[in-house]
Structure formats: C-alpha cells, structure tokens
C-alpha cells in the first residue's frame, strides 16, 4: 500500500521520473506527429504539384477549371498568389508551378493595367470588371478569362499601393485605377447610374431625398473627376456613366 501510494522521500523521485517519462513520451509523439505531418504535407505538395503540372494547360486555358483549382488551394489554406514570401525563390505557387499559373495572373494584371490606363480618360479610372473582361476576351487567340480571374489579378496589385483596387457598387465589381477614393455621395450616385445608365438632379433628389444643392455638388464632382459624361441636350441634363458605352 505504502509503495503504491508512493509516500516518503522516494516518492518525490518517482514522481519526477514519471513526469520526465511523460514528457519524453509527449515529445516523441509530437515528433512523430510532426514528421508524419511533414510527410503528409510533402506528399500533398507533390500531389498538388503533379496535379497542377499535368493540368497546367487546363488551368491556364479554362476559367472554370482554374477557378475550381484556386478554390481547392484556398480551402486547404494555400494562397496560390502569396508573392511576398520570405523565400527568395518567390511564392509557394511559383515554386510549385514554375512559370505557369503564377505568371498567368501577373500577365493578366499587366493587361488589366494597360486597359485601365488606355481608357482612363474616357471613364475617369473606374471601369466595370465585366467590360475589362470583354476587352480581354475580344482579343482572339488567347484563352478566355473570367471575372473572378480579373478580380484575383487586380488583388495581386494591392502591394503596389493605393492605385488599383476593386470597388463594389450596385452589386457589380469595378476596377478603380486612380488613387482617389470615392466619397460616399459619389459612390451612391454611381450606383444609381447602374439602373438606367444616367442620373440627373431630379433622379437623385427624388430617389435619395437629397437637397438640390447636394445633387448638383455631387454631379459636378463626378464630372470633374471624369467619372460621368454630361448630356446637355437632355432636359434636365443627364449624367451618363461611361460603362454604358457597350463595345
């Protein structure tokens, strides 16, 4: 009984020994776990790599397939576009796929910048993702891209500063390619253009219950920023969103 209870001085020793043994056992298990996990991760990475390589063409050329693949990566916590890796070799993605899919998004980003730059004078630097997609996909001989691809590519530009971003207005994604942020009134007014293509002082006044002065101020602001075009031949004047110009 005395032994089992472990009373007396020797009990302290034993207690310590037991604790040590538990601790050793614990770290062994942990080690095993880590090495198992590492093995699993390596296996997984190898599988992902193999998958990505054998399907690289589809990933590049089929927007639906690409989207599913990107979703799969996100689901298991791999950001395919994390480019700010401490690893000198570049992102996990770049390492995994070589120059394939990673480049796809960066090349797409470059094309998006080019389109936004070229159309900035027309639209004041705010363009529907849908329109960008239309322009990109109108170039023959290139695999089609989806709106999701474009949004993703624009998001890769975030580290470059405040110049580029996605703005969601009236349930549509826009690319903003000028540093200037929209004021709340401007954003609301632009959302309103999405219904009919244009807004006017009475439309804003009646739908948003704004004072006339406030309507005039926001419309003048939008014209000054190049975000809307004015039609002076309409009575009252109408202010049109350039996204209404369809190709």
């Amino acid at each position: 009984m005395a032994m089992r209870r472990g009373v007396g001085l020797a009990a302290f020793d034993k207690h310590q020994r037991t604790a040590q043994q538990y601790s050793d056992l614990g770290s062994t298990i942990l080690q095993t776990h880590i090495s198992e996990l590492t093995d699993q991760l390596l296996t997984f990475q190898a599988a992902l790599k193999k998958f990505a390589q054998s399907h690289a063409d589809e990933i590049r050329s089929d927007p639906v397939f690409r989207s599913e693949f990107v979703k799969m990566c996100s689901a298991i916590g791999v950001d395919p576009l994390a480019s700010s890796s401490a690893n000198k070799k570049g992102s996990f993605w770049a390492e995994l796929l070589g120059s394939d899919v990673n480049d796809f998004f960066f090349e797409l980003a470059v094309r998006i910048i080019e389109i936004c730059r070229r159309t900035r004078d027309v639209n004041g630097g705010l363009m529907l993702v849908e329109d960008v997609k239309g322009r990109i996909n109108s170039v023959p001989g290139r695999p089609p891209v989806s709106q999701e691809d474009i949004v993703r590519a624009v998001n890769t530009l975030a580290p470059l500063g405040h110049g580029f971003g996605i703005v969601r207005l009236a349930n549509k994604d826009f690319i903003r390619s000028v540093p200037q942020e929209l004021s709340r009134d401007q954003a609301v007014a632009i959302e309103a253009t999405q219904a009919m293509g244009y807004i006017s002082v009475p439309i804003l006044r009646d739908n948003l219950t704004w004072e006339t002065a406030r309507c005039i101020a926001v419309l003048d602001d939008l014209v000054a920023s190049g975000l809307v075009w004015v039609d002076e031949q309409a009575r009252p004047k109408e202010y049109w969103t350039p996204s209404w110009i369809r190709q």
């Binding site: 004078d121 027309v122 014209v223 920023s225 075009w229 004015v230 031949q233 309409a234």
Partner: protein, 199 residues
C-alpha cells in the same frame, strides 16, 4: 469639280455605315467640360470621322452641309453635334495631320468650314499609286490626273475618285522621291504626270 463631295449621294450611302457604340451614347454629342474627358472625346470623334469617310469614300467635309449628315446627327437618340464643336473636332484633326482646312468652293465662304480628310495620308496614297503603276505596267507612260482618278484602270482602286488636291499631294511625294514628273503642255498648263517606277 465632279470629284467634290456631293452631300446627297454621301448621306444616302452612309446609312449602311456600322456606327460604333459610342455613337449611341447621348453625351458623345455634348462637348465635355472635363478636359481629360474632352481629349478622349476628341480622339473618339477623330477615329469615327476617319472611319466614316473611308467607308463612304468621302474626301472633303464641308461643315455647312455635313452638319446635317447622320455622322453628326444620331436621329435614333435625337442628338447632334453643334457646329462649333464640329469645328473644334476638325481643328484637332488638322493639328494631328488627319485633315486640312481648305478654302470652300464658294469664294466668300467663312474660314474653316471645309476640310480635306486624310483617311489615308498623302504618303500612303503615293505608295498605293506607285504600286498600281508598277502592277499595271504603266511605267514611263504619261497619265492625266483625271485618268488616275477616274480611268478604267483605277476602277477597283482605293484611290478611285480621289480628290484632286489629295492626288496632287500624293504626286508631290512621288516627285520628291524621283518616281514621277509633272508634264506641261505648250501653254504651260499641267497636262499629266509621267511615272518612272521605284528604283
């Protein structure tokens, strides 16, 4: 003078011109107050005018009549470009070398209403005419300007019916290159042009 644009025929031919989508955008017909927007609007008008003239083979625009063309009037949306804005557009085309003001056919026509539209530059016309001379074996023959523009051999050519002023500018290019020479008749009138072909 038969080669000068006759507004009636051009406006009837123009109906099939495939207008770009910007043409249905009502504010396109209002001069935009924002200077950057206006710059882009100018360049859109510039391209539209060039495309329209090329399609309808219009060599000159006289704003006194052209202002009524469908080019500047979208009747579907009841919008039209004001005369003063048209002038600004043409002015900008002149600056870019896509057009050139000419004095109107009437002697006292106010300045800057009539312009040659270069949907091809004189240099391009020069190359096209030189190629045509080569391919039709007309080297060392003398052709009148009328024959070049209206002759049987130029029937299917892009320069068919070319405005005499533009033709003369194209020929000047060829003369400078030593590929052509103006022949004068006994009374000193320009009678024709002799081509030497490219060296």
């Amino acid at each position: 003078m038969s080669t000068l644009t006759s507004p009636i025929s051009t406006s009837s031919r123009s109906t099939s011109f495939p207008f770009p989508s910007i043409y249905s955008f009502p504010p396109f017909f209002t001069r935009q107050p924002n200077s950057q927007t206006w710059t882009s609007q100018l360049s859109l008008w510039n391209s539209l005018i060039l495309a329209y003239c090329r399609y309808n083979r219009i060599w000159r625009i006289d704003l006194n009549t052209a202002i009524e063309w469908d080019l500047f009037n979208n009747r579907d949306i009841s919008r039209s470009l004001k005369l003063e804005t048209c002038k600004e557009v043409l002015d900008s085309m002149v600056k870019k070398g896509d057009a050139e003001w000419v004095s109107g056919s009437g002697s006292q026509v106010s300045k800057n209403t009539s312009a040659i539209i270069y949907w091809r530059r004189p240099e391009e016309w020069a190359n096209i005419i030189a190629d045509w001379i080569d391919s039709t074996g007309q080297k060392n023959t003398i052709l009148t300007l009328y024959e070049i523009a209206e002759g049987d051999l130029s029937l299917s050519q892009d320069f068919r019916g070319i405005d005499p002023t533009i033709l003369r500018k194209a020929l000047d290019v060829l003369i400078r290159r030593g590929q052509a020479q103006i022949m004068k008749s006994a009374d000193g009138e320009e009678a024709g042009v002799k081509f030497f072909g490219s060296q």
